[in-house]
Point group: C2
Chain length 384, copies 2
């Protein structure tokens, strides 16, 4: 059976597991490592698709959970699928809804068959199973779809038994996802490794999940509150246990340094709400750290968020003083401009990291991106 | 003294006072009749300047009242003025703050010198006089600035004495505006005719205001709640009383038919919040009337707001079903796309009206724009 996804590794770093490559999907190809902006509800918040593309983004993420609840995946299927509906003609990845069902919803029941929870829209009871999640994602028609997994919460109060159940269930559910997948020649299904911060469980999960032949694999259950040191430990441990010839996707991570650590562990694909969520909150990323644009110190500042940045905000000459004014006045253009800048910030970081891999040269990267040297970066929950 | 504004009339309609022309300002020229989108707080809500330009808009309006309160006109002056601050490099017109001070503010005192009111931002007492309004507008640096006038409220409970006082004050204040204007070779000051719905007072105001030689004149105090029939009567009466060789500007009006009536009375310049305000409320203009995009009937509709429209929303293929989804989900992109469409709707109307004037041919216009035939259109308060 022809896979809808091709992954070609072009160069592997000498000193780490990092590699540059290219993923080809039915809606186009993109270089890896790649960063996907988040368009949870079929829109990258505040941005026309052409503005998303102008940040250098070539693949975006949308969310099966939110779209299933509203407007309904069947409605989107009748519109011709997500690409046609939202006018994004490049590759799309949809998350399965597992993470959201377990983390956002008022859960009524979890059993071996699936999870029942209350809709965040109207309080109605929703049943999500591996089969239903895949049906929803088949409706949406993204190029990459994700397995429906049991996302046990993180933290010291979660017992080993619950984590083991989640791991075992995730593997069984993955088999059901594969069996339910109705469009395997059009949509690449990725499996998800769970296991929390328990490395033995991560090893067992990676072994079981990768025993099922799939076009790509993801590391889930990371950046759910455990802090950067544990994120890095889990990713460094897990990524090399995934097949080297398939794209590896680290879900919902993260800050610049988290991405770098993951890329050097062999990860190829990322999504994170940080650029857009922080953008809406007047929080701008720069190579030297973050700026809060509501701060009065910027009121009289004509310079851009970051000099030398080629995004529509910085390159367009919008000064920090103007951006501050927009946020103070509650104007939509503030979130729009800073979201654009922040997404471009991550795309420029990925550009530079790809160059470092290709040229086997890293020291210039740390000079160009002082923020990569900061070991103190927090990594709170960053998911959609 | 060289005027910063040139107005050339290129053709006058045979059957009406309508004319096509071109206004040239220090920041470029634009064809008339012209429609200005409103960027009250130095931003056309939700739209990057390049998206505003892409609607065919060549001049925009900003508001001295709002910008004086926040971030302060002195701050904008230090940024290099409004054009540099908001990155709009074409012509800008600023309203004087008169209308807002009288209509929006909690007024503390009106006297012959000016008005004292509470700031809508922090409740502090603000004093606005003709001299102060012009100083603010000199700071902002717009190409066209407006006189500070006494905008008596409309309605049956406003006595003739109050209207007469307002008229007389407006003329005296205009003289003070002229005297206070520090940048007359860079910024064109327009006088404003008041008089409410009292045609005798309108005649007196027009005569007194136009006795002062200025590069342009405006009709103020219209569309403040009096309904379309009275709007049309006042405009038809007043516009021809303004010098034919100067641009005539009808402030804060209005719906499509209101614009047409005004243009046929000889008006050249319009601003209105309708396209953006309605756009934010899911209310889309079409040639056949308005659509409310939250309506469930559009959920499964793939067609654009208006077929044949070349705006970024319709031309970009965004369907009514997707737009409805964006509004139901509270996504910013809904207001953005419908604002773009609505501004383009008005710019396409003006394009077609200019063509009708140029070709002395009107019947096709009414066929192409059924909405122009609707005499029942309401005209509530449409100001910034």
């Amino acid at each position: 059976m022809a896979s809808p996804l091709h992954f070609r590794i072009e160069h592997t770093d000498r000193g780490s597991h990092a590699r540059v490559g290219r993923v080809t999907t039915p809606h186009g190809s993109f270089p890896t490592p790649a960063f996907m902006p988040v368009g949870t509800r079929a829109s990258v918040k505040g941005l026309l698709p052409e503005l998303v593309r102008a940040t250098g983004s070539e693949i975006i993420l949308a969310n099966a959970y939110h779209l299933m609840l509203r407007p309904g995946s069947d409605l989107i299927a009748r519109r011709g699928g997500l690409h046609a509906f939202m006018r994004w003609h490049g590759p799309i990845l949809t998350d399965s809804g597992g993470f959201q069902a377990f983390s956002m919803a008022d859960i009524n029941r979890i059993d071996d068959d699936g999870v029942t929870f209350k809709s965040i829209i109207d309080g109605s009871m929703i049943r999500l199973t591996p089969e239903r999640s895949i049906e929803v994602q088949n409706d949406l028609g993204a190029d990459i779809i994700m397995a429906f997994d049991d996302c046990a919460p993180a933290g010291p109060d979660v017992g080993a038994a619950r984590l083991r159940t989640a791991h075992e269930r995730t593997v069984r559910w993955l088999e059901r996802c594969v069996a339910a997948h109705a469009r395997p020649t059009e949509q690449a299904l990725f499996g998800i490794v769970q296991g929390g911060i328990d490395l033995d469980l991560r090893a067992a999960s990676a072994e079981a999940v990768t025993s099922i032949d799939l076009p790509g694999y993801a590391i889930g259950g990371v950046a759910v509150g455990e802090g950067p040191a544990l994120i890095h430990r889990v990713v460094e441990f897990t990524a090399p246990r995934l097949p080297a010839d398939r794209p590896r996707y680290l879900m919902g991570v993260g800050y610049e340094r988290d991405l770098l650590v993951a890329i050097r562990s062999g990860v190829d694909l990322f999504d994170c709400v940080l650029p857009t969520r922080n953008g809406r909150n007047a929080n701008a990323f720069t190579r030297a750290g973050r700026l809060h644009l509501r701060n009065a110190r910027w009121a009289e500042e004509d310079g851009p968020i970051e000099s030398g940045c080629d995004c529509a905000a910085c390159g367009g000459g919008f000064g920090r003083g103007y951006l501050r004014h927009l946020f103070m006045a509650g104007e939509m253009l503030g979130p729009i401009l800073v979201s654009i800048h922040n997404i471009r910030h991550f795309q420029r970081l990925l550009l530079d990291i790809r160059r470092s891999i290709r040229e086997d040269a890293w020291s210039w990267l740390f000079e160009a991106w002082p923020v990569l040297q900061d070991p103190e970066q927090a990594a709170p929950s960053l998911h959609t």
